[in-house]
Subunit: 123 residues, 2 copies
DNA sequence: CGAGTGTATTAAGCTACTTAATACACTCAG
DNA sequence: CTGAGTGTATTAAGTAGCTTAATACACTCG
């Protein structure tokens, strides 16, 4: 389902959250699809179930998952997280743009790169 | 000189590095200007001199500072860090742009916001 | 009923960050 | 030359966060 990067120095649960976020946002997981249980994903990634639980809890808090007692965790419908992710990503993009401007990168270069990125092949 | 943000959960030395980077890149500190000593900046920020030393060492490693033995740390000339910061900032901007595209933010919105950011008043 | 869910708790170990206390070589003003 | 002020290195200790491990319990469903 996902693969951990051992060079990444962030906490494991944060890495899991980020990778699952991207998987959900990109459509790799559909609404109401059942997530692996904390125990099975823990086995798969060689990580303690508690750590998986911590990642799932954060994903639920952010609206990406919902829990059905005794049944498992499921992917939340897009309406639950669409606005949040857009606002978050846009804010980070604006910050990155301000930094670019501060570093002396010309507007024209960003305009060209922006078009290039939007023309990249889908993965 | 700088102010620490106690809500920021990153290590103190990283926060200091980031704030001094921005201060140098934005022109708030001139080339060959003398930096505060590790002891005095430690006093000013209520932080151990070792922590300041760690931040200074990283800034030197990144080309923002140079050290004169027995005299102190000084701001490096722009040629030492200009290429590095541009490449780093541009790479982060491209990543943010890919995330924006992945989240469904339309190209036109970014194009408009891009112009807006470059028209913001200088601080 | 029993296996499989989420969830909670407690204890322990580990790592990174930070502080503290020294120590030493260097530079420069007096 | 001397001493104050530099950077730098070392060692020890404390703290906080992350992770694992071992249980336990309520829930759902075949």
């Amino acid at each position: 389902m996902i693969l951990l990067d051992y060079r990444d120095k962030r906490p494991i649960y944060e890495q899991i959250v980020e990778k699952l976020e991207k998987l959900i946002v990109s459509g790799g997981l559909s609404a109401d699809e059942k997530m692996p249980s904390v125990r099975s994903l823990g086995m798969e990634l060689s990580v303690n179930p508690n750590t998986i639980q911590r990642a799932y809890a954060q994903l639920e808090q952010e609206g990406y998952l919902y829990t059905v007692s005794g049944r498992g965790n499921f992917v939340a419908p897009e309406s639950e997280w669409r606005d949040g992710i857009k606002q978050k990503v846009l804010q980070e993009w604006i910050t990155a743009t301000r930094n670019a401007r501060l570093s002396g990168i010309p507007l024209e270069q960003l305009q060209n790169t922006l078009k290039d990125v939007y023309e990249e092949e889908k993965q």
